[in-house]
Amino acid sequence: MNAIEIHGLVKTYRNGTKALKGVDLTIGEGDFFALLGANGAGKTTLIGILTGLVNKTAGTVKVFGCDIDKDFAGAKRMLGVVPQEFNFNMFENVQDIIVNQAGYFGVPSKTAIRDAEGILKMVGLWKKRCAMARTLSGGMKRRLMIARALIHHPKALILDEPTAGVDVELRLGMWDYLRQINSHGTTILLTTHYLEEVEQMCRNAAIIKDGQIVRNDAVPNLLPLEKLFLEIIKT
């Protein structure tokens, strides 16, 4: 089964901007998939539609066979999202953020508190569980967002530039987390500007330009990625 199936996806914003112009994209279950593109290419809009933060104009989207037009709740249940910017309540503590997120997904607090321990230990935030989110360092906040996205055990994890502005050591650490998560069967869709990240971790990648997928292939077939990427965005 495919994790994500997108056909003819169009998004036109109210100001007339056409962010997506008929995107077709399929991501297999268990894949580690990269979506590449310059700023404004449509990556975040696509992710927004998948996760319910942006309303699509046309097209169909299925998550593990679940059509978002028919059962968006079912589709959302299978997704975890790590957005580009910090979007948690800075005045809540780490554990509350995680447990509340689980609650929104219908996970009872007792189960969530139990599961939070394992996830927070995995991302190295267990000792910080009682700390206010605003007191965390930038890297810790990034890890908190990953932990939050994993608390309801999603089948697919969507990460929108998770390593932007993160130092090298932390980035390498995050690669390890992501590989570990993927090795347990979780499908990963990643957007990034770091081509090295794609080469190191992803099996398949697509390049989006001006709201359209212009290349979609296995990563080895796209190498050297930097040369290809520059060729595409310059044409």
Binding site: L53, V54, A73, P83, E85, F88, M90, G103, F105
Partner: protein, 256 residues
């Protein structure tokens, strides 16, 4: 209702109640101080020189209105600040990416507003007992008008929070519309004491119906017919619920 929806609803309400208690100096204390000053200044100092209204001392007369003022201000303030705060910090996205249906999101925030309104209302009523001996004529009317009014203003605040683009727009409705309507809604006077034109004009103020319905629960009299008060409250609540759900469905103000 799915079990997962129940858990989501409980989570939003728990988060709201935790917030109310965590910042109690902002959420619970200020209305108590303000209303105590009203009891002192209007009830005790000025009220002592005012004749009774329909057989009730002025101090007792203003109790329902002052309790209702606190309920309205607290329920409204809770939802507008919490919802807009979540929008501003983008933590509302935590709920939007979850499978929680729109009615759960709305009900969670409204219940938070009702809880704060009810707690503050009960505390203000408790304070009033130090100044007078308010009687309760019909407890069901008191509970009905307090709860539905808190719901109504929580819904209004939710809509305000959806449309607000900055903090100025958050406080605009509260400062320039809600506060004048509260003062002109019959908290401190019976609308029958107004000239005929202003009596008629007051009937366009929805707060007149809430305050009078609530006052009926205490003393058994009201400036307007009780059935009209109930009908107006129910119609407004249904209308604002429908509008809020429509706005959530369309994603206006919260989705790109």
């Amino acid at each position: 209702m799915l079990y997962t929806d129940t858990v989501a609803l409980k989570t939003i309400v728990r988060k709201e109640v935790t917030r109310i208690l965590r910042i109690w100096t902002q959420t619970l204390l200020p209305p108590l101080i303000t209303q105590t000053l009203y009891f002192l200044i209007f009830g005790k100092f000025i009220g002592a020189q005012i004749a009774s209204i329909q057989g009730v001392t002025y101090m007792s007369f203003i109790v329902p209105g002052l309790v209702m003022m606190a309920v309205i201000g607290s329920s409204y303030g809770n939802v507008v600040s919490s919802f807009f705060g979540a929008k501003f910090q983008r933590s509302i996205e935590e709920i939007l990416v979850s499978p929680a249906p729109n009615w759960v999101i709305l009900a969670g925030y409204v219940m938070g507003g009702v809880v704060r309104g009810a707690v503050v209302g009960a505390l203000v009523f408790g304070i009033s007992c130090f100044f007078t001996h308010p009687v309760i004529h019909n407890i069901w009317a008191v509970l009905f008008f307090m709860t539905v009014t808190a719901m109504l203003f929580s819904l209004g605040a939710f809509i305000n929070g959806i449309f607000a683009r900055n903090f100025d727009e958050v406080v605009f409705f509260q400062n320039f519309i809600l506060t004048p309507l509260m003062y002109l809604g019959g908290v401190f006077y019976s609308i029958h004491s107004l000239p005929l034109f202003w009596q008629k004009a007051s009937l366009f103020n929805p707060l007149v119906y809430m305050i009078n319905g609530f006052r009926y629960g205490f003393y058994g009299f009201s400036d307007v017919h009780l059935a009209v008060c109930v009908a107006i409250l129910v119609v407004l609540t249904v209308a604002l619920t429908a509008l809020s759900l429509w706005l959530l469905k369309k994603g206006i103000g919260i989705k790109n």
